[in-house]
């Protein structure tokens, strides 16, 4: 049986929903770090799989955009490939894996290693937008705490980490203060990526579909990761270079190679790694000539 090709509205969702999300985005940019409620819609993937990010991208995307989607830094994992295909299908935009070519980058928990530029937009898929949620389960209370700029709870949590473990034991979703005012969860990005948010030239938009919140870090905004004078914030660091491209100062994934504890450490950012490796091979050829 032949079925006619369905024609979708650009970006899948309807224009009225887009306008609602767009107005919320403007408020989010005007109030950096504040979680603006929005009327989250159904999209053709389950809640918790990036519906917030998908709704943001759907409301942003247009003909002149080039879309990159990453999942844990990688362009070629299931979630990234599926979302990239989805937007190619419903908006016919060009897609890429190259960070420098992309105008829109939807991500689940990494910021690319290649520095971002002005005009680029990062879209994050956020599972839990409220940084205080595990310390205070009631939404009515956490909203009050934000309104009153009362973040003692979070400092106590970090202090208890130090008392128990001797260091701040949070390695992802590390809380930040945005523009000196709002406590914000940078979504579960590794704390390694936190410094990239500070005074970034790009716009960072966070969408939590299930929790119905959108928030943002505008470009060139102060983003301070919490810490104490004697126990300052320390992003994760890696001792070894990447096993493929030899890069240092990048975020590495562990790949188990056997059942005897052997492991390989490689770049989590697949585009960055491939570029570095291509560069290395070129230089290698240059030497042999």
């Amino acid at each position: 049986m032949n079925s006619a090709k369905i024609e979708y509205n650009i970006g899948y969702i309807d224009e009225q929903t887009k306008r609602m999300i767009r107005r919320v985005m403007l408020k989010a940019v005007a109030i950096p770090g504040f979680q603006v409620p929005f009327a989250s819609r159904e999209v053709p993937l389950p809640r918790g799989w990036g519906t917030g990010g998908v709704q943001l991208t759907a409301s942003l995307i247009g003909k002149s955009d080039v879309l990159k989607v990453i999942d844990q830094g990688s362009d070629d994992t299931t979630n990234a490939v599926s979302i990239r295909k989805f937007f190619h299908r419903v908006s016919s935009v060009e897609t890429t894996t190259d960070t420098t070519q992309a105008t829109l980058i939807q991500t689940r928990h990494r910021i690319p290693e290649t520095p971002l530029q002005e005009g680029q937009i990062m879209v994050y898929q956020v599972p839990l937008p409220e940084p205080l949620r595990f310390l205070e389960p009631r939404e009515t209370e956490t909203r009050q705490l934000h309104a009153l700029n009362e973040y003692g709870l979070m400092y106590v949590k970090l202090y208890e980490d130090i008392a128990k473990y001797g260091h701040i034991a949070k390695t992802y979703d590390y809380p930040v203060i945005v523009n000196g005012r709002y406590l914000m969860a940078p979504s579960p990005t590794p704390s390694f990526d936190n410094p990239k948010l500070h005074q970034s030239p790009a716009l960072h938009l966070y969408g939590a579909g299930r929790e119905k919140r959108i928030y943002a870090i505008p470009p060139y905004t102060d983003v301070e990761s919490l810490g104490f004078e004697d126990y300052p914030f320390e992003p994760q660091a890696f001792e070894e270079p990447c096993a493929i491209c030899g890069s240092t100062g990048v975020y590495l994934d562990q790949i188990i190679t056997d059942d005897k504890g052997g492991a390989l450490y490689v770049c989590s950012d697949s585009d960055y790694c491939a570029n570095k490796f291509a560069q290395l091979s070129k230089e290698g050829e240059g030497v042999s000539e």
Partner: protein, 210 residues
């Protein structure tokens, strides 16, 4: 229903030729304007629009407004039948006559209400504030300003259209209210520029005539 409704004069001009793509492009310019305060971003609106609106302002209204937005229009626009007919037909926006009820206030440099008359939201819900859309096509003068704040790399100089006398004092107070406060979107013939509540303004000494 009387036949008068269908008279040629009451049929509004067309809106965007491609509503989805055109409004997306305009929205991205507005989002860029909010992200990079003090910079102008050009927009393309429909060409055949009521004169009182102008192409760029029409584009902004078609992009942002619908049945969920209460909009206050300055008296000249509110009394212009062709303009209001056009906006109501294409957006279905809710007209409001009280500034305090408005999600958006559309005003010219002459009819701009004082910032402290507008809704600033609450500490719990600072997003429930009014956004002021300033039609700056006919500005009488402009102040050379220096701005700092989120979205600005260091500082930026730009020309702020002259509005009412106490604007800069009121803006400073508005900025101090953060996270509450009013956001400002300035629309001229072909571009938009925004000053979100986070932007701090310092007025330079001299004043240029436009």
């Amino acid at each position: 229903m009387s036949d008068a409704v269908f008279q040629a004069a009451t049929i509004p001009q067309p809106g965007f030729s491609d509503p989805s793509s055109d409004s997306q492009a305009v929205f991205r310019a507005i989002l860029n304007a909010f992200s990079y305060p003090g910079r102008k971003f050009s927009i393309t609106g429909p060409q055949d629009v009521p004169a009182a609106l102008g192409s760029a302002l029409a584009a902004v209204e078609l992009t942002l407004f619908d049945i969920d937005t209460a909009v206050w229009h300055h008296p000249v626009l509110a009394q212009d039948e062709s303009a209001m007919g056009y906006l109501l037909f294409h957006t279905g926006l809710k007209r409001c006559t009280e500034l305090a009820d408005a999600d958006f206030v559309v005003a010219t440099v002459d009819s701009m209400p004082a910032l402290n008359e507008l809704r600033t939201g609450s500490d719990l819900s600072p997003q429930e504030s009014t956004t002021l859309v300033l039609d700056a096509r006919e500005m009488t003068g402009a102040h050379n300003c220096r701005a700092t704040g989120p979205g600005i790399n260091g500082e930026i100089e730009f020309l702020m259209p002259e509005t009412y006398a106490e604007f800069f004092e009121d803006w400073a107070a508005n900025h101090q209210l953060f996270p509450r406060g009013v956001d400002l979107l300035i629309v001229d013939e072909h571009s938009v520029m925004a000053l979100p509540r986070t932007t701090s303004l310092a007025i330079q000494e001299h004043k240029r005539e436009a």
